[in-house]
């Protein structure tokens, strides 16, 4: 199967939850979804045996809120009243790879109280990635089997997340 066909399969599989899609590079597909639809989307990919989970990470858009003004997902988040006016979003990224093709599930999350459902029930191997995600970005992963720190020490101050943009080393 060609890379294009593989990507098209994924696009079709994920269509029910897709809020937007783009192809940043020829062999990649970014699928924008709501955080609430994550488990359903992952389950679909898993059931169709589409690729494997390559990585989970996130991005912090501190100071870049303006670029989201037109984003429907961001508007919906704002409308839900869960986001303070100056709270820049976080974006969780779930990478799935099948040969050359890479599909990224992207979800916008509010900065305060960011939460996302665990996919360990579907893919047990996601446990380490989820632990890293929650300690580095402060995104709570609900019902993850092991919520402990993965890399940070036990006595690391609560509420400090190193990979957020407002964390600066030496000023903990």
């Amino acid at each position: 199967m060609s890379t294009e066909a593989t990507l098209q399969t994924a696009q079709a599989l994920l269509a029910p939850w897709t809020k937007g899609a783009r192809a940043p590079e020829p062999d990649r597909l970014d699928v924008l979804i709501d955080a609430a639809d994550l488990t359903a989307a992952v389950q679909t990919l898993h059931d169709a045996r589409w690729g494997y989970l390559a990585a989970i990470t996130a991005l912090d858009y501190l100071g870049k809120t303006a670029s989201f003004a037109q984003d429907a997902r961001w508007q919906a988040l704002m409308a839900s009243g869960r986001v303070p006016a100056d709270g820049a979003p976080l974006e969780a990224l779930y990478f799935f790879a099948a040969g050359r093709a890479i599909v990224t599930l992207r979800m916008l999350l509010p900065r305060e109280g960011a939460a996302i459902a665990s996919i360990c029930g579907i893919l047990p191997s996601a446990s380490f990635f989820e632990r890293e995600l929650s300690e580095m970005f402060g995104i709570t992963v609900t019902e993850t089997p092991d919520p402990n720190h993965l890399f940070l020490p036990e006595n690391w101050p609560a509420g400090v997340h190193p990979l957020r943009k407002d964390f600066a080393p030496g000023r903990q």
């Binding site: 390559a54 990585a55 047990p124 191997s125 993965l150 990979l163």
Partner: protein, 365 residues
């Protein structure tokens, strides 16, 4: 009294432990000599490199990321360079790409020989450890002659490489490879026929293909369980389209298979190295790179000695990256220890641990 006997007896391995040259922490609960459970604690080598990378510029990051791991330093530098070049819309010249692949394969040889020695040491087979490390010095000499360094080769620059190969150098590499190929035959024989060694590897740490996929294994550990996944074959990078490699697979899924896969990969590396030396493209070594990298995101994947190395790089158009995500092969493979420990003998645990070739400094970053 009953409570007392039921209390779990926990054997810690690490963070300071002879079986681990790096600090990680495993806890095995045991009943007599039988392991009943395993947990892993990471982060002893967590330095915060991903964050530091956001505070340094693109060129400084090359040197920082190269020092994520001293064993597969070239893999990190290569994944990063390829990613940044992709973002900048620059392609390194063919000669540079071929040299990158050459160093990557030589590094694989060094890494696999190092691993062979360390796992032999775990098995209490110090003679094999000594011999494989003695032979590994050959590849260290080759790499030092080629790049000037024994460990952090620093051969990549953004846009190309800084080491070139002339005929004399190529001959020196060929001689080293010839010697090692003969030795590797010998190691393959030991790994597949030495009675006491097989007692420690055959049937130990078994994973089926389904299990391996479920646990999310990558690299040789997965290929030993017949999971056909190799970035060099699936998504050829550097010069792997011109100098393709064959995927090495095994169906048995136990420790012996992991030994066999890694040793057979060595032969494949020797073959490719010779091929590159014979048909090295002529031309420039570097392409011009801009100081600021265009805004954008990219994914760069390569096959490090331990498996798929995944870089996600985001640029915001300045001279520093916005975000660099490094997902190393080891973090995927730890599951093979925690997932298969139960029911094994305590004595098997260091072997199973070595069998996945863990790299804590890669993993913790």
């Amino acid at each position: 009294m009953e409570n007392e006997t039921r209390e779990k007896f926990i054997i810690p391995i690490g963070p300071q432990h002879p079986a681990l040259k790096e600090p990680g922490h495993f806890e095995f609960s045991v009943d007599g000599e039988t392991v009943t459970g395993a947990t892993v604690r990471l982060g002893y080598v967590h330095r915060g490199i991903e964050k530091a990378a956001e505070e340094r510029n693109w060129v400084q990051d090359l040197y920082l990321l190269e020092r994520i791991c001293g064993i597969c330093s070239h893999a990190h530098a290569l994944a990063y360079s390829l990613g940044v070049e992709k973002l900048a819309g620059v392609t390194a010249p063919p000669r540079a790409q071929a040299i990158r692949q050459l160093v990557a394969e030589l590094e694989r040889v060094h890494s696999h020989l190092l691993w062979l020695g360390v796992s032999a040491h775990e098995a209490g087979f110090d003679t094999l450890f000594m011999f494989s490390w003695r032979d590994r010095e050959t590849i260290m000499d080759v790499l030092e002659g080629l790049t000037g360094n024994r460990v952090n080769y620093s051969v990549n620059v953004l846009g190309g490489v800084k080491a070139d190969i002339d005929d004399a150098r190529a001959d020196a590499i060929r001689r080293g490879i010839d010697f090692l190929e003969e030795r590797t035959q010998h190691y393959l024989k030991i790994a597949t026929s030495d009675e006491t060694f097989l007692r420690r590897t055959r049937g130990v740490g078994y994973t089926s293909r389904e299990q391996a996929e479920e646990l999310g294994l990558v690299g040789p550990t997965a290929r030993a369980a017949n999971v056909a996944r190799d970035v060099r074959v699936d998504v050829p990078y550097a010069a792997y389209t011109d100098f393709p490699v064959q995927m090495t697979l095994d169906t048995r899924g136990d420790l012996e298979a992991r030994f066999v896969v890694r040793i057979r990969e060595l032969f494949e590396s020797y073959r490719v190295v010779r091929q590159i030396l014979d048909r090295l493209p002529a031309g420039e070594l570097t392409a011009r790179m801009p100081r600021r990298i265009k805004e954008g995101e990219t994914v760069s994947r390569i096959e490090a000695p331990r498996g798929e190395l995944f870089y996600f790089i985001k640029s915001n158009g300045s001279d520093k990256p916005e975000r660099i995500k490094v997902r190393t092969p080891s973090i995927c493979n730890f599951a093979v220890v925690t997932g298969t420990a139960k029911g094994h003998q305590l004595a098997d645990m260091p072997m199973i641990l070595a069998g996945m070739d863990p790299c804590f400094s890669c993993n913790d970053r």
